[in-house]
Subunit: 223 residues, 2 copies
Amino acid sequence: MYGQFCPVSKAMEVLDERWTMLVVREMLLGSTRFNELRRGVPRMSPALLSKRLASLERAGVVRREGAGVRTSYHLTQAGEELGPIVDALGVWGMRWASELGDQDLDPHLLFWDMRRTTPVEKWPRERRTTVAFELDDVPPKVARWWLVVSGGETDVCDFDPGFEVDARVLTGLRPLTHVWRSDWSWPSALRKGVVRIEAPTELRRALPDMIGHSNVAELMQNA
Amino acid sequence: MYGQFCPVSKAMEVLDERWTMLVVREMLLGSTRFNELRRGVPRMSPALLSKRLASLERAGVVRREGAGVRTSYHLTQAGEELGPIVDALGVWGMRWASELGDQDLDPHLLFWDMRRTTPVEKWPRERRTTVAFELDDVPPKVARWWLVVSGGETDVCDFDPGFEVDARVLTGLRPLTHVWRSDWSWPSALRKGVVRIEAPTELRRALPDMIGHSNVAELMQNA
DNA sequence: CTGTATCCATGGCGATACTG
DNA sequence: CAGTATCGCCATGGATACAG
């Protein structure tokens, strides 16, 4: 492909195809099923995802388990060892490619990402807690979201689940994305009013910690 | 491009295009001029290299200096910070993508790589030393190479420079590449006879160290 | 030496629909 | 749920020539 013996080029032959690293990222984050992976790369066509999974399997990065209706995908040792590289790419991206166009904002991805890393141990243990988000800078169809934590499980809905709402977060997709990425801190976002929380005082104060940050934001702090 | 706010995807928007990482690798290794870069990515067309350099400049990874006949390219801070990622990709490639097809072997690249990392301090200081390489598994046109170290400078020729030859290395492109990458150790290669050195005893024993290893091989040892 | 210009073929990939 | 099938465009990028 590149015609070079250099191991960097051999690595990039496997990894530089469009979408490939994002699929690996999804698997590092724990996705194993086809449609689970699709949620992490929604703009990728299923045909292409299938093709990439096959490539990665051939390259020894992914192992396919089961077949037909119960197929799952797992990283091999080679795949797991891409973890530090993906992390480093994330840190580099935060530092040097942090300008987000409107095209980069996607509420489905944002809440899907929030769902999987919600620190449930910071939420009330014994009762269900529902937080409603209202985004003022997107079409009405995708403006309302509900985050429900109950029994140590997190759910996200883009429709009203009908539960009593414990807190409302009034903001926009862009501010919420920046806060989630830790481009903006919660305090400054609240101070500027680009994010507003309506809830009883205690919950209002605790909510930023309960929502947390994207895992790349965590990496930045440790670096 | 990917439509994701995730910094990994933003990073890959800059880095996942074909050849891009190899251009960055060349710059990390010190190349600054257009034709110098070309030697490191000989299968890349000049038009495409030009295009990639422009992209990297737009992305803030590369800074162009001068213009016209004396242009040079330098990594910015963002570019330098790709160093650890490229290193990690190299280590990963050594571990998990080390099978080399015949297409991956290239004597020009091999000797160009050897030239730039030759540990000249291990070579005789006061006199010129010439090592002739003869490869038995490639067309005659690219089978003979000369490595000349003189006055702390290394030169590589694909034609007979006419100097007295101090050592001859008889091998093939594939074995030499594997030894250079440290896939095979010098001692085992010599023992198996896939590499032969003809030289006075002292030089014969010292030559492996004088030639050294690819810089990725060094990284592997430190990991 | 440092690129640009041009051309063309290939196939990557996006979109959509459909199937076991 | 887990993919395949099909289609068609357009952009990528390989090759070559040439220009300042």
